[in-house]
Symmetry: C2
Subunit: 137 residues, 2 copies
DNA sequence: GCAATATACTTGCGGACTCAAATATATTGC
DNA sequence: GCAATATATTTGAGTCCGCAAGTATATTGC
Protein backbone atom coordinates (compact mmCIF):
# COMPACT_ATOMS: atom_id res chain seq x y z
CA UNK A 1 0.00 0.00 0.00
CA UNK A 2 2.51 2.55 1.00
CA UNK A 3 4.73 1.85 -1.84
CA UNK A 4 4.22 5.51 -2.65
CA UNK A 5 5.88 6.71 0.51
CA UNK A 6 8.51 4.05 0.19
CA UNK A 7 9.25 5.25 -3.32
CA UNK A 8 9.76 8.81 -2.14
CA UNK A 9 12.16 7.77 0.59
CA UNK A 10 14.12 5.62 -1.82
CA UNK A 11 14.33 8.40 -4.38
CA UNK A 12 15.61 10.90 -1.87
CA UNK A 13 18.11 8.42 -0.43
CA UNK A 14 19.47 7.58 -3.84
CA UNK A 15 19.51 11.22 -4.83
CA UNK A 16 21.61 12.30 -1.88
CA UNK A 17 23.95 9.36 -2.43
CA UNK A 18 24.43 10.38 -6.05
CA UNK A 19 24.94 14.06 -5.30
CA UNK A 20 27.40 13.30 -2.52
CA UNK A 21 29.39 11.05 -4.82
CA UNK A 22 29.43 13.49 -7.71
CA UNK A 23 30.29 16.35 -5.39
CA UNK A 24 33.32 14.53 -4.10
CA UNK A 25 34.45 13.87 -7.68
CA UNK A 26 33.89 17.51 -8.61
CA UNK A 27 35.86 18.78 -5.64
CA UNK A 28 38.95 17.54 -7.50
CA UNK A 29 38.12 20.15 -10.13
CA UNK A 30 37.46 22.73 -7.43
CA UNK A 31 33.75 23.07 -8.13
CA UNK A 32 30.48 22.03 -6.51
CA UNK A 33 27.53 20.19 -7.98
CA UNK A 34 25.56 23.43 -8.25
CA UNK A 35 28.38 25.14 -10.09
CA UNK A 36 28.61 22.17 -12.43
CA UNK A 37 24.87 22.39 -13.06
CA UNK A 38 25.03 26.04 -14.06
CA UNK A 39 28.00 25.43 -16.35
CA UNK A 40 26.12 22.51 -17.86
CA UNK A 41 23.07 24.64 -18.58
CA UNK A 42 25.16 27.47 -19.94
CA UNK A 43 27.12 25.25 -22.26
CA UNK A 44 23.89 23.71 -23.58
CA UNK A 45 22.29 27.09 -24.22
CA UNK A 46 22.39 29.09 -27.43
CA UNK A 47 25.34 31.52 -27.41
CA UNK A 48 26.43 29.96 -24.08
CA UNK A 49 24.48 32.73 -22.45
CA UNK A 50 21.44 32.88 -20.21
CA UNK A 51 19.44 35.23 -18.05
CA UNK A 52 20.02 34.67 -14.35
CA UNK A 53 16.34 33.98 -13.77
CA UNK A 54 16.16 31.28 -16.42
CA UNK A 55 19.31 29.74 -15.01
CA UNK A 56 17.77 29.72 -11.54
CA UNK A 57 14.72 28.04 -12.93
CA UNK A 58 16.67 25.41 -14.88
CA UNK A 59 18.87 24.36 -12.00
CA UNK A 60 16.08 24.54 -9.43
CA UNK A 61 17.49 27.34 -7.31
CA UNK A 62 16.15 30.70 -6.20
CA UNK A 63 17.26 33.90 -7.90
CA UNK A 64 19.21 34.95 -4.84
CA UNK A 65 20.89 31.58 -4.70
CA UNK A 66 22.08 32.10 -8.27
CA UNK A 67 23.44 35.55 -7.44
CA UNK A 68 25.47 34.16 -4.58
CA UNK A 69 26.61 31.14 -6.57
CA UNK A 70 27.73 33.20 -9.56
CA UNK A 71 29.67 35.83 -7.60
CA UNK A 72 32.75 33.70 -6.91
CA UNK A 73 32.48 32.13 -10.37
CA UNK A 74 32.74 35.58 -11.91
CA UNK A 75 35.72 36.38 -9.73
CA UNK A 76 37.69 33.41 -11.02
CA UNK A 77 36.45 34.20 -14.52
CA UNK A 78 34.73 30.98 -15.44
CA UNK A 79 31.59 32.94 -16.21
CA UNK A 80 31.07 36.60 -16.95
CA UNK A 81 28.26 39.09 -16.62
CA UNK A 82 26.92 40.83 -19.71
CA UNK A 83 24.47 43.69 -19.71
CA UNK A 84 21.37 43.79 -21.85
CA UNK A 85 20.87 46.92 -23.94
CA UNK A 86 17.17 46.21 -24.41
CA UNK A 87 16.27 45.68 -20.77
CA UNK A 88 18.47 47.12 -18.07
CA UNK A 89 16.91 44.88 -15.43
CA UNK A 90 18.34 41.70 -16.79
CA UNK A 91 21.97 40.74 -16.83
CA UNK A 92 23.12 37.80 -18.87
CA UNK A 93 25.65 35.25 -17.73
CA UNK A 94 28.05 33.78 -20.23
CA UNK A 95 30.40 30.86 -19.73
CA UNK A 96 33.97 31.84 -20.66
CA UNK A 97 36.44 29.75 -22.65
CA UNK A 98 38.24 28.90 -19.44
CA UNK A 99 34.88 27.96 -17.97
CA UNK A 100 34.11 25.63 -20.86
CA UNK A 101 37.46 23.96 -20.52
CA UNK A 102 36.87 23.40 -16.81
CA UNK A 103 33.37 22.16 -17.55
CA UNK A 104 34.52 19.65 -20.14
CA UNK A 105 37.02 18.16 -17.74
CA UNK A 106 34.48 18.04 -14.95
CA UNK A 107 31.95 16.49 -17.29
CA UNK A 108 34.27 13.55 -17.91
CA UNK A 109 34.45 12.86 -14.18
CA UNK A 110 30.70 13.13 -13.78
CA UNK A 111 30.02 10.86 -16.73
CA UNK A 112 32.39 8.23 -15.39
CA UNK A 113 30.77 8.46 -12.02
CA UNK A 114 27.22 8.31 -13.40
CA UNK A 115 28.08 5.30 -15.51
CA UNK A 116 29.01 3.45 -12.33
CA UNK A 117 25.71 4.18 -10.66
CA UNK A 118 23.75 2.67 -13.50
CA UNK A 119 26.12 -0.13 -14.34
CA UNK A 120 23.60 -2.81 -13.41
CA UNK A 121 20.84 -1.31 -15.53
CA UNK A 122 20.44 -2.47 -19.11
CA UNK A 123 19.28 -0.19 -21.90
CA UNK A 124 15.73 -1.28 -21.49
CA UNK A 125 15.82 -0.39 -17.81
CA UNK A 126 17.08 3.08 -18.59
CA UNK A 127 14.40 3.71 -21.19
CA UNK A 128 11.74 2.45 -18.81
CA UNK A 129 13.20 4.54 -16.01
CA UNK A 130 13.07 7.73 -18.06
CA UNK A 131 9.54 6.89 -19.11
CA UNK A 132 8.43 6.46 -15.51
CA UNK A 133 10.15 9.63 -14.36
CA UNK A 134 8.28 11.50 -17.06
CA UNK A 135 5.01 10.28 -15.57
CA UNK A 136 5.70 11.75 -12.16
CA UNK A 137 3.73 14.94 -11.65
CA UNK B 1 24.53 8.01 -24.76
CA UNK B 2 24.27 10.55 -22.06
CA UNK B 3 21.10 9.18 -20.85
CA UNK B 4 23.06 8.51 -17.70
CA UNK B 5 23.68 12.15 -16.99
CA UNK B 6 20.17 13.01 -18.06
CA UNK B 7 18.84 10.46 -15.62
CA UNK B 8 20.76 11.99 -12.74
CA UNK B 9 19.50 15.48 -13.49
CA UNK B 10 15.94 14.25 -13.76
CA UNK B 11 16.20 12.36 -10.49
CA UNK B 12 17.53 15.36 -8.64
CA UNK B 13 14.96 17.68 -10.19
CA UNK B 14 12.10 15.40 -9.26
CA UNK B 15 13.54 14.84 -5.82
CA UNK B 16 13.71 18.52 -4.99
CA UNK B 17 10.23 19.06 -6.38
CA UNK B 18 8.89 16.27 -4.18
CA UNK B 19 10.67 17.44 -1.04
CA UNK B 20 9.58 21.04 -1.59
CA UNK B 21 5.99 19.94 -1.99
CA UNK B 22 5.99 17.67 1.03
CA UNK B 23 7.75 20.32 3.09
CA UNK B 24 5.06 22.84 2.31
CA UNK B 25 2.38 20.35 3.31
CA UNK B 26 4.23 19.54 6.52
CA UNK B 27 4.62 23.20 7.45
CA UNK B 28 0.89 23.13 8.16
CA UNK B 29 1.70 20.66 10.94
CA UNK B 30 4.62 22.80 12.04
CA UNK B 31 7.32 20.30 11.11
CA UNK B 32 9.97 19.91 8.43
CA UNK B 33 10.67 16.98 6.15
CA UNK B 34 13.67 15.96 8.27
CA UNK B 35 11.60 16.00 11.42
CA UNK B 36 8.97 13.90 9.69
CA UNK B 37 11.66 11.44 8.62
CA UNK B 38 12.93 10.94 12.15
CA UNK B 39 9.41 10.50 13.49
CA UNK B 40 8.75 8.01 10.72
CA UNK B 41 11.81 5.96 11.60
CA UNK B 42 11.05 6.12 15.31
CA UNK B 43 7.47 4.98 14.88
CA UNK B 44 8.65 2.08 12.72
CA UNK B 45 11.26 0.96 15.22
CA UNK B 46 10.83 -1.54 18.01
CA UNK B 47 9.78 0.19 21.25
CA UNK B 48 9.59 3.47 19.26
CA UNK B 49 13.13 4.06 20.40
CA UNK B 50 16.45 4.39 18.63
CA UNK B 51 20.05 5.37 19.20
CA UNK B 52 20.86 8.77 17.79
CA UNK B 53 23.54 7.31 15.58
CA UNK B 54 21.26 4.74 14.01
CA UNK B 55 18.69 7.43 13.45
CA UNK B 56 21.30 9.60 11.73
CA UNK B 57 22.22 6.69 9.53
CA UNK B 58 18.62 5.82 8.64
CA UNK B 59 17.62 9.33 7.66
CA UNK B 60 20.92 10.09 5.90
CA UNK B 61 22.11 12.84 8.20
CA UNK B 62 25.26 13.40 10.23
CA UNK B 63 25.33 12.81 13.98
CA UNK B 64 25.60 16.52 14.62
CA UNK B 65 22.68 17.20 12.33
CA UNK B 66 20.59 14.82 14.40
CA UNK B 67 21.61 16.50 17.64
CA UNK B 68 20.53 19.88 16.35
CA UNK B 69 17.35 18.53 14.81
CA UNK B 70 16.29 16.73 17.99
CA UNK B 71 16.94 19.62 20.39
CA UNK B 72 13.83 21.63 19.53
CA UNK B 73 11.81 18.43 19.14
CA UNK B 74 12.68 17.51 22.72
CA UNK B 75 11.70 20.98 23.88
CA UNK B 76 8.21 20.69 22.49
CA UNK B 77 8.08 17.12 23.80
CA UNK B 78 7.40 15.21 20.63
CA UNK B 79 10.45 13.07 21.35
CA UNK B 80 12.33 12.46 24.55
CA UNK B 81 15.84 11.49 25.49
CA UNK B 82 16.44 8.31 27.48
CA UNK B 83 19.71 7.29 29.01
CA UNK B 84 21.23 3.87 28.57
CA UNK B 85 22.30 2.10 31.75
CA UNK B 86 24.56 -0.31 29.86
CA UNK B 87 26.51 2.28 27.91
CA UNK B 88 26.65 5.85 29.14
CA UNK B 89 27.83 7.10 25.77
CA UNK B 90 24.60 6.39 23.98
CA UNK B 91 21.34 8.18 24.54
CA UNK B 92 18.16 6.82 23.10
CA UNK B 93 15.45 8.88 21.51
CA UNK B 94 11.85 7.88 21.97
CA UNK B 95 8.84 9.29 20.21
CA UNK B 96 6.21 10.45 22.74
CA UNK B 97 2.46 9.86 22.54
CA UNK B 98 2.03 13.48 21.46
CA UNK B 99 4.73 12.89 18.88
CA UNK B 100 2.96 9.86 17.48
CA UNK B 101 -0.27 11.77 17.23
CA UNK B 102 1.45 14.56 15.36
CA UNK B 103 3.19 12.01 13.15
CA UNK B 104 -0.02 10.22 12.25
CA UNK B 105 -1.66 13.45 11.17
CA UNK B 106 1.40 14.51 9.20
CA UNK B 107 1.56 11.07 7.62
CA UNK B 108 -1.91 11.53 6.17
CA UNK B 109 -0.83 14.74 4.48
CA UNK B 110 2.31 13.15 3.13
CA UNK B 111 0.45 10.12 1.82
CA UNK B 112 -2.09 12.28 0.07
CA UNK B 113 0.66 14.34 -1.43
CA UNK B 114 2.70 11.32 -2.54
CA UNK B 115 -0.34 9.73 -4.11
CA UNK B 116 -0.69 12.78 -6.33
CA UNK B 117 2.88 12.57 -7.56
CA UNK B 118 2.44 9.01 -8.72
CA UNK B 119 -1.12 9.28 -9.89
CA UNK B 120 -0.20 8.58 -13.50
CA UNK B 121 1.79 5.46 -12.65
CA UNK B 122 0.04 2.11 -12.66
CA UNK B 123 0.95 -0.70 -10.27
CA UNK B 124 3.24 -2.27 -12.77
CA UNK B 125 5.13 0.99 -13.16
CA UNK B 126 5.63 1.25 -9.42
CA UNK B 127 6.92 -2.31 -9.13
CA UNK B 128 9.27 -1.74 -12.05
CA UNK B 129 10.37 1.56 -10.56
CA UNK B 130 11.27 0.01 -7.22
CA UNK B 131 13.08 -2.77 -9.06
CA UNK B 132 15.15 -0.31 -11.02
CA UNK B 133 15.94 1.82 -7.98
CA UNK B 134 17.24 -1.31 -6.30
CA UNK B 135 19.68 -1.80 -9.15
CA UNK B 136 21.30 1.58 -8.70
CA UNK B 137 24.63 1.27 -6.97
C1' DG C 1 44.95 -2.94 34.90
C1' DC C 2 46.10 0.58 32.16
C1' DA C 3 47.50 2.97 27.79
C1' DA C 4 45.85 3.20 23.21
C1' DT C 5 42.09 3.24 20.40
C1' DA C 6 37.25 3.17 19.18
C1' DT C 7 32.54 4.83 19.71
C1' DA C 8 28.54 8.10 20.83
C1' DC C 9 27.45 12.37 21.15
C1' DT C 10 27.81 17.72 21.30
C1' DT C 11 29.75 22.19 20.07
C1' DG C 12 32.12 25.84 17.22
C1' DC C 13 32.44 27.39 12.90
C1' DG C 14 31.30 28.00 8.28
C1' DG C 15 28.94 27.13 3.73
C1' DA C 16 24.96 26.89 0.84
C1' DC C 17 20.59 27.93 0.49
C1' DT C 18 15.90 30.45 1.06
C1' DC C 19 12.53 34.09 2.00
C1' DA C 20 11.40 38.81 2.35
C1' DA C 21 12.64 43.45 1.55
C1' DA C 22 15.11 46.75 -1.17
C1' DT C 23 16.40 48.58 -5.70
C1' DA C 24 16.09 49.42 -10.39
C1' DT C 25 13.85 49.18 -14.56
C1' DA C 26 9.74 47.92 -17.85
C1' DT C 27 5.04 47.49 -19.05
C1' DT C 28 0.18 48.47 -18.77
C1' DG C 29 -4.15 50.88 -18.31
C1' DC C 30 -6.37 54.90 -18.16
C1' DG D 1 2.30 60.54 -20.02
C1' DC D 2 2.13 58.92 -15.66
C1' DA D 3 0.50 56.04 -11.68
C1' DA D 4 0.09 51.28 -10.68
C1' DT D 5 1.90 47.02 -11.28
C1' DA D 6 5.11 43.54 -12.95
C1' DT D 7 9.79 41.77 -13.60
C1' DA D 8 14.96 41.02 -12.74
C1' DT D 9 18.30 41.20 -9.61
C1' DT D 10 20.78 41.99 -5.08
C1' DT D 11 21.07 42.27 -0.09
C1' DG D 12 19.97 41.19 4.91
C1' DA D 13 18.69 37.92 8.06
C1' DG D 14 18.06 33.45 9.27
C1' DT D 15 17.87 28.08 8.77
C1' DC D 16 19.72 23.75 8.07
C1' DC D 17 23.30 21.04 7.85
C1' DG D 18 28.22 19.18 7.57
C1' DC D 19 33.06 18.86 9.10
C1' DA D 20 36.41 18.91 12.57
C1' DA D 21 37.46 19.28 17.27
C1' DG D 22 36.10 18.49 21.95
C1' DT D 23 34.13 15.53 25.71
C1' DA D 24 32.85 11.42 27.81
C1' DT D 25 32.73 6.64 28.06
C1' DA D 26 33.85 1.69 26.40
C1' DT D 27 36.76 -1.75 24.50
C1' DT D 28 41.05 -3.86 23.31
C1' DG D 29 45.74 -5.45 23.54
C1' DC D 30 49.55 -6.05 26.04
Amino acid sequence: MDNNLDLIFKISTINSKIIKNIDSQLSIHGITYSEFLVMHQLSLSAAKTMRRIDLADKVGMSASGITRLLNPMEKIKIVKKEINARDARVSFVKITTAGEELYNNALKSVELCSKEFFEDLNNNDIVKFLEILKKIR
